[in-house]
């Protein structure tokens, strides 16, 4: 296990590279969900204001 984590001595570069990429993926998922949620709320708001007149 330690040998795996050590990555042949290249651990200071290999693990950050994976962390950055997986982090970008996580952020993308989060941003996408947030965008869709906000759009849904905005659409609902528009529907409510349009029904009044």
């Amino acid at each position: 296990m330690m040998r795996f984590l050590d990555m042949g001595g290249y651990y200071p570069w290999v693990w950050p590279a994976y962390a950055v990429t997986l982090g970008v993926m996580g952020l993308n998922i989060y941003w996408a969900m947030r965008l869709r949620e906000r759009a849904r709320r905005a659409a609902l708001r528009r529907l409510q204001t349009q029904e009044e007149p």
Binding site: F4, M7, G8, G9, Y10, W13, V14, P16, A17, Y18, V20, T21, L22, V24, M25, L27, N28, I29, W31, A32, M33, L35, R36, E37, R38, A39, R40, A42, A43, L44, R46, L47, Q48, Q50
Partner: protein, 245 residues
Amino acid sequence: MTWTWFHRLASPPHLYRTAGRLTPWFAWPAALLIIAGLIGGLWLAPPDYQQGDAYRIMYVHAPSAWLSLMVYTIMAVAGAIGLIWRMKAAHALAAAAAPIGASFTLATLVTGSLWGKPMWGTYWQWDPRLTSELLLFFLYLGYMGLRAAFEDLQRADRVSAVLAVVGVINVPIIHYSVVWWNSLHQGPSVMYLGKPTMPPSMLVPLLLMFLGFTLFFGAVVLVRLQGEVLNRERAAHWVEEELGA
């Protein structure tokens, strides 16, 4: 007649529902492929005889680079379709794709420089591939900056579509001029990519990652697409039905 599916897909309610239905079909295979690729790339594949374990950065670097280019092309094609046929759905797709492409371009740059440190002894080398990627990142920034500069979504869609088309025509010119420039000043790139004699134990995880990243993009862009379609919809009854207002 063959065009009916095209127009049906482009109608906002249909697109919204289809995108919602398709998302899991992209998300789960993407997750499985990426996990398999990670195990294969980090654990099962043997160390490289030249680069040792540092080459394993390739398994995240190369698929990110592939996404950065693919997404820009998708943006430009969608933009052109949106301009020619005045199709809001295509513009929504371009708008949904841009931030994903930009973020993976940034990931490519960061992983590339992390790979560069053990290989070149420096985090940044004016290597043609990294330089092109940096310029692509600027193109993405310009595209998103232009989009953000307009209040009116319709106008933002169409103006940025023109930019994406101009950009995609220029990307190969920029890339080849950078390669040409680099060949004048230093030797060829030391990166690992495109080595023909890669053993299957190294190659298979890479292919899994390529496919996994592409499907991941598909899943994320579908979720974003739903949001962008809603943002472009004003007072349609289908929104009411769909959201249960």
